[in-house]
Symmetry: C2
């Protein structure tokens, strides 16, 4: 079967979606090839076949799956002979909790720190849409959202503590090698790396060392894309 | 080998320690017998052999282990033929993250909602110690800490969202059966159930239904102890 992966398209074809990166890492982990279809913010009708408007989406033969976590569950079910993303019911359940923690806490903190930087990487045709939708969500201009981030970044760093306590003692959240439980946080930090020069995680933080290991994983898939200036 | 389990002793021998419950469930999960040693708040010197002052502690032959998570790791290593608390490196790492999330978020929220109720279950000889140490931690009297909890409980309920998103779709955080990843949250809610009548989790909340299933697990180990009035 041929997999098609629908990912977000930024300016000049850049791919920075934090949720897209979860799926990109998952496909690499399983060693699955795919055809890439890039979708701009204003082209969400291209995803109509999936019954919703958000990337990532995969189509695998007759099967369409949206939502990065559901995609991972599907890939483990459909390709059980490939390296496991979860490996057990316990790990799948707990990875879902970590996934939700990143969605509800980490991702939201980071959005409030870099959203205007992200704007600079949005395709020009989509910048009006991006500004309007994000300013409505934050209730202020993109420029205003980032004001005071040098102080607010501490709150974000403290919020990482449950994950930091794991990676200070072992290479990856999932043990000696990365697996799906590592990808949600990676997606968020890679989104920031690709769009913003703002120093989110301090150099001495165990999370920083973990992120460097994640950039090297899967033959340096994450590191192959240059960081934003 | 004979395991000795050192757990906190409240008024009339009540055992409500949230961390003690993590170990109690872990020992039940593995089907291990043990001798119980109860330690009051003011008897922490009884734990001197462990090099620290906090329950739970287990002694297993020559081995002494403190810290509920380290105890669980030890039990899986020492008793690999018994049912696994983690089951894989992935699950162990992710359970550690969930454990830390409960410690840093859930447990702290609940302390601020029920600490004066807990005081009512502390052995009389220890009430002075408990009041002084907790009032120093909170910076106010135990009575003051609970003021306004009817409003603040919403913040606690929102904080449960990453775990709620898992148990709304499956019986336990760890899948179809409970495992260690379920025990940190259980310990906190059981601590509240045994010391406080304050309604922490609403009846329609998937976390409520999960907690009821946890009370029934291991032959109703948790439910066998009556709730506080």
């Amino acid at each position: 079967m041929a997999i098609t992966f629908y990912d977000l398209c930024g300016k000049d074809g850049e791919r920075f979606s934090p949720f897209g990166w979860r799926t990109r890492m998952a496909l690499a982990h399983k060693g699955l090839d795919y055809t890439l279809e890039l979708v701009k913010f204003t082209e969400k009708d291209k995803l109509g076949f999936s019954g919703q408007k958000l990337v990532p989406v995969i189509r695998d033969g007759e099967t369409v799956v949206a939502d990065s976590f559901a995609i991972a569950e599907y890939l483990d079910r459909a390709y059980p002979d490939r390296p496991a993303l979860f490996g057990s019911d316990e790990a799948r359940g707990l990875a879902k909790a970590v996934n939700a923690f990143v969605d509800r806490t980490v991702q939201i903190h980071v959005g409030g720190l870099i959203v205007h930087d992200v704007f600079g990487h949005v395709d020009e045709a989509c910048q009006g849409y991006f500004r309007e939708s994000r300013e409505a969500r934050f209730g202020k201009t993109l420029e205003e959202v980032q004001v005071g981030r040098e102080e607010r970044v501490d709150t974000f760093r403290k919020a990482l503590e449950p994950l930091r306590l794991v990676v200070k003692d072992q290479p990856f959240l999932c043990g000696d090698a990365p697996a799906y439980g590592d990808f949600p946080l990676f997606g968020t930090l890679q989104w920031a790396r690709l769009t913003s020069g703002f120093p989110l995680v301090e150099a001495g933080d165990p999370v920083h060392a973990w992120f460097e290991r994640m950039l090297d994983a899967y033959d340096g898939l994450g590191r192959a894309i240059p960081a934003a200036a």
